[in-house]
Every structure is written in structure tokens, then in C-alpha cells.
Symmetry: C2
Subunit: 316 residues, 2 copies
């Protein structure tokens, strides 16, 4: 069986770990979001790809969900001693090595997809991890900065430095319209028995992946099941509500599914807290309710299994 | 009083610390060797400049003489876990930050001299540290590699990886003939009351600095006093003998002075072990003997004071 999953960072990575446990024989291809990528200190940082790689490879800091376990911050402290920031982005010493290797390979001319494959040679995540594109796409957020007026900032500045405390007026994946899917992305989707949307951010993770020309169309042609990142009107984790508000979508399991739309989604898993949505149904898709809190590996695997089962059921 | 010193790494840096203590009111300009510079992991590493900066700035690992005190090696270990080397060059986490800042500034278009000044803003070495050139000069060593035949290797590969165990057939400062002295170098020499040669390597440190067109002529026009890096037929530290042999110069205090020549050197300090050289004299220069072991800060300052005093005496 071949499964494709579109994934952002922490939530996506945890879901994927559950999926790998739930379907150990499946060939899983993960299409990772690169819109959050940022160049810091001259190094190329791919937070979502790395979170997936570290989580599935056993190197993640389990408590915070991103970055390396057993991490130290000597390089960052020394950079700050030189007056070189930003201070708000947490790059640890172990993590730095990943970015140094990536940057060196990119400078040597390798595309990001080849670099990601080389990094995964070490981590052996048990899935094939492909960035959505080898082209540069950067998610920018337009805010009305209390200090500096209306301006566009890199997603990470809004998300990490400001903790999304300033409302986003709009969110754009800059460069997406000219980007091409990375090699292997469209083939993996075409050959998939099912495409899953983990409970990743529908706007800046899955939405960004789908904004790369060709990916949405390829995905829409398959049986697609998504897991709601919204439980009872609030994001399971992160600040997805701030992103949804920016694009005029209500923070509810129903609104997110309707935003994806029945042309894209065939099935939608909502939490028991949103059982009413499942009962009322959504035109053009199969909606099921079940517990969706990924509180431990077993419950996460059960959620992934339920998403996969629904996809296989709908495919028949 | 204005003093210019040409300096390599460990020996030069320690001498300079003594000089700063011996002449606290003097304006000291240090012209640093950059022929040992190397790009590792996509980062620009300037071992001699950094050794001077760390030593005079209080950040050096006193025991080994290079690298940072209280250092850790997490980044390097992680790079090796990715299969990315070399393993033989000791870059610590604190040190990495220096190279990251430098590389980022160079990539932004700043010349190495401006980068060095910016790094020294943090370290406040108490001297003005200028690289010999902003152009790329790399010392290459031709060896008859037992495994791979005759080939040219980067100085660091011969010096650090092979520990100079394979004889050097020749040593060349590649790029030197087209290099220009960095801004400030020639002015500092012209305005100097004395030019000092610390007990740095006469071939790959001071020799390389002098190989940048214009520097030798400017230095030769001044009162120049050198401190012998050879005591009783052996280098005080390091493997200067291997470099001297490669250029056909005997490893002795006399031979090194004669290699520099009386056109360049006005005075030469040798150790008491080489008192005979002082008694016999060298045509065209004043030779004095005194203890030259830089065993502690006080004795080092006394050596520097003796060199300076001899220069001031010869200038009259």
C-alpha cells in the first residue's frame, strides 16, 4: 500500500509517527512544507522538514516538539556575544550541524530534495520525505506592526518572535506561483492508494503545499482524508486560529473542511467534541467523529489508522 | 610610539600579549597571516587571526594555545554523524560562531579586514589587527604522499592532519603575487617607529606576510628587529624545522636571520643557547642573546621589551 501525507511541523510529524506504526508495511511518502524555511546566520533552516526528520528519526526534543533532544545553545550564545541575532529563533548546537550540512550542499548545487534525502540517510525516518518544491517559497505575513506600521514579515518573525500576537491581515506564499513540485512529488501522489492530511495548519502548512501549481490537482484526483486540527473551536496546538482568521475562515472543524472543500477532501475526521458536525454532515464528504487528541503513541496510531481506514473505505 | 608586528598564530600571539604588557602606551598594529586560512563546512576559518584575537581578548584555550577556552564540540560531532568531515580539524562550538559571523559578513560583501575589525569589536584585543591582505592567499605544500603520490595539499592538511610527518618538497603562497596589502597595512608600516617579528614561523607565517607585494619593501625601509623562533637548533614550538627544510634553510637561529637577510632585519634576538651566534655576529645586523623561552607572561613581556629596546636603540 502506498500512502502520501502532506505535513507541516509538530502536529504533522507526530501524526506521521502514528501512521508509520499503524501501517508498518505501507510505503509512506511525506510531502513537507517549505514555506516556513528561513535563512539565519547565512544558513538555510527548514523547520518543518527537520521536525519530521527528527521526530521520525528519534532525534526530536519530545517535550517541545521541535529541535533536537539533549540540545545545547553555545553557538547561539556566542553569536549573540558578537551582537549577531536574531535571539528569538532557537537554534541549538546539534541543530546547527544540520543547517551547515544543508547549506553546504545547496551551495554545491544540490536541490533541496537531494539534500533532504542525504540528511535522511542519517536519520532513517522510515518514510520518504520530499520537500513540496526545490524552488524558494516563503510565507510572508502582512501585519499592522504597532511599532513600524503596516509591513510584510517572514512567517517565522510573526509566528516565533511575535507569537502571532499581532493580527495577520493577509498571508501569502511568496514564490509559490512560479514553483514546481519537487521531483517525485506528483508521481508519489499519482501512485498513492490514499492521501492523508494530518492535523497540520490548514493555511501555512497544508495550504502552502497545495499552493504549488500541480499539487492540488494531483491530490484532488485521489481519495483524500483529513484529520481536523481544530477541536471544539480551538487549535489542538499552535496558533492555527490566527492563520484561519487571516484568510476569513472560522476556527471550527466544519469551516476548515469546507475551506478545503469537497473537490479536495473525500473524508474528514473530527473529534468527539465536534460530533455534531459529523451528525449534520458536510456536503460531498464523509465525516466521522472519534477522539483526536494525540496524547501518546498508541492513541496517535489509532487516529492515523482511522484516517487510513476511512480512505480505504471511500476508495472502494 | 607606534609599533607594527607581523604575526602568525600561537607563538606570535603570545609574544604580542607580552608586547602589549611591555609597552602599554604604544599603538600596536598587528599584520596577521592569512595564508593558513581554510574553508571548512562552507565557513571561512582564519586560524592565525583568531588565535591572535582570542589570545589578546582573553578567550584563548591557554593550554593548547589555539581555540576557545571552555570549549565543546557538539557541532563537529553532529557533522561527523552526517558523515561530513574533516574530522582532523578541531572546530569547537564557540569557535564555530566566529566563523559563522565571518562567513556571513564576507558573503554580504565586507572585506576580511572589515570583518576582522568587527570581530575585534567584541574581543577588544588592545591592538589593531589587520589581515595581511583582503585577497585570497592559500599556502599549499607539495608532498610525495605515500598513498597518493606527488600532490599539493592545503597547508592545514599537511600541518594538522599529517602533522608535517611527510617532507614538504616545496611550499607556495598561492595567490600572493596578485594580492594587495589590506587597507591600513602599508600606512601602519610607514608610520611605525619599529617593526617587530615575533618568534613566528619564518616560512609560512612571516614569510607569507612578506610575500604580499609591497609589504617586504615597506618593512625593509623601517627599523626591524626579530626574535628567533629557533633555540639551539630546534623550533621553540610547532614544526618550523619542517618548513625551513622545505626551503633549504638550516634550522638554526643564524640561518633564519640570514634567510631574512640584513636588507630586512636590523636586529636579531637569539636565545642564550645561541650566544655563540651573537658573539660571532651576523653581517649587517645587531645580534643579541637573552633568554627567549616565553614561559610566563612576565618573561614574555621582558622578551618583547628587549626586542623593542633594541629597535629603538638601532633607530637612533
Amino acid at each position: 500500500m502506498r500512502i502520501v501525507a502532506l505535513a507541516g511541523g509538530i502536529g504533522g510529524a507526530r501524526f506521521l509517527r502514528g501512521l508509520r506504526a499503524a501501517a508498518p508495511e505501507a510505503e509512506i511518502t511525506v510531502i513537507g512544507n517549505t514555506g516556513d524555511d528561513i535563512s539565519l546566520f547565512g544558513l538555510r533552516v527548514c523547520p518543518d522538514l527537520d521536525t519530521v526528520m527528527y521526530t521520525l528519526g528519534g532525534g526530536i526534543n519530545e517535550e517541545q516538539g521541535w529541535g533536537r533532544a539533549d540540545e545545547s545553545f553555545t553557538v547561539k550564545e556566542e553569536l549573540l556575544a558578537y551582537g549577531v541575532g536574531p535571539s528569538w529563533f532557537g537554534l541549538g548546537d546539534r541543530d546547527f550541524a544540520t543547517h551547515i550540512v544543508r547549506t553546504q550542499m545547496l551551495a554545491a548545487g544540490y536541490p533541496l530534495s537531494a539534500v533532504t534525502e542525504a540528511l535522511c540517510d542519517r536519520w532513517k525516518p522510515g518514510v520518504r520525505l520530499i520537500p513540496m518544491t526545490d524552488d524558494q517559497v516563503e510565507t510572508h505575513v502582512v501585519i499592522d506592526d504597532p511599532e513600524r506600521g503596516r509591513r510584510a514579515v517572514h512567517f517565522q518573525e510573526w509566528w516565533v518572535r511575535m507569537r502571532a500576537s499581532v493580527p495577520a491581515e493577509s498571508i501569502a506564499a511568496v514564490g509559490a506561483e512560479d514553483a514546481k513540485p519537487a521531483p517525485g512529488v506528483l508521481d508519489a501522489v499519482r501512485e498513492a492508494d490514499a492521501v492523508l492530511f494530518p492535523p497540520s495548519n490548514p493555511v501555512v502548512s497544508i495550504g502552502t503545499i497545495l499552493s504549488v501549481p500541480g499539487i492540488r490537482e494531483a491530490v484532488a484526483a485521489k481519495t483524500v482524508v483529513g484529520v481536523s486540527p481544530i477541536i471544539g473551536g480551538a487549535p489542538v496546538r499552535g496558533m492555527a486560529d490566527a492563520c484561519l482568521t487571516a484568510i476569513g475562515v472560522e476556527t471550527s472543524a466544519r469551516a476548515v473542511a469546507e475551506h478545503y472543500g469537497p473537490d479536495l477532501l473525500d473524508g474528514w475526521l473530527v473529534d468527539e467534541a465536534d460530533a455534531a458536525t459529523a451528525e449534520e454532515g458536510i456536503e460531498g464528504m464523509a465525516v466521522r467523529s472519534r477522539p483526536l487528541l494525540m496524547s501518546d503513541p498508541e492513541s496517535t496510531a489509532a487516529i492515523a489508522r482511522a484516517a487510513l481506514d476511512l480512505a480505504l473505505e471511500l476508495k472502494r
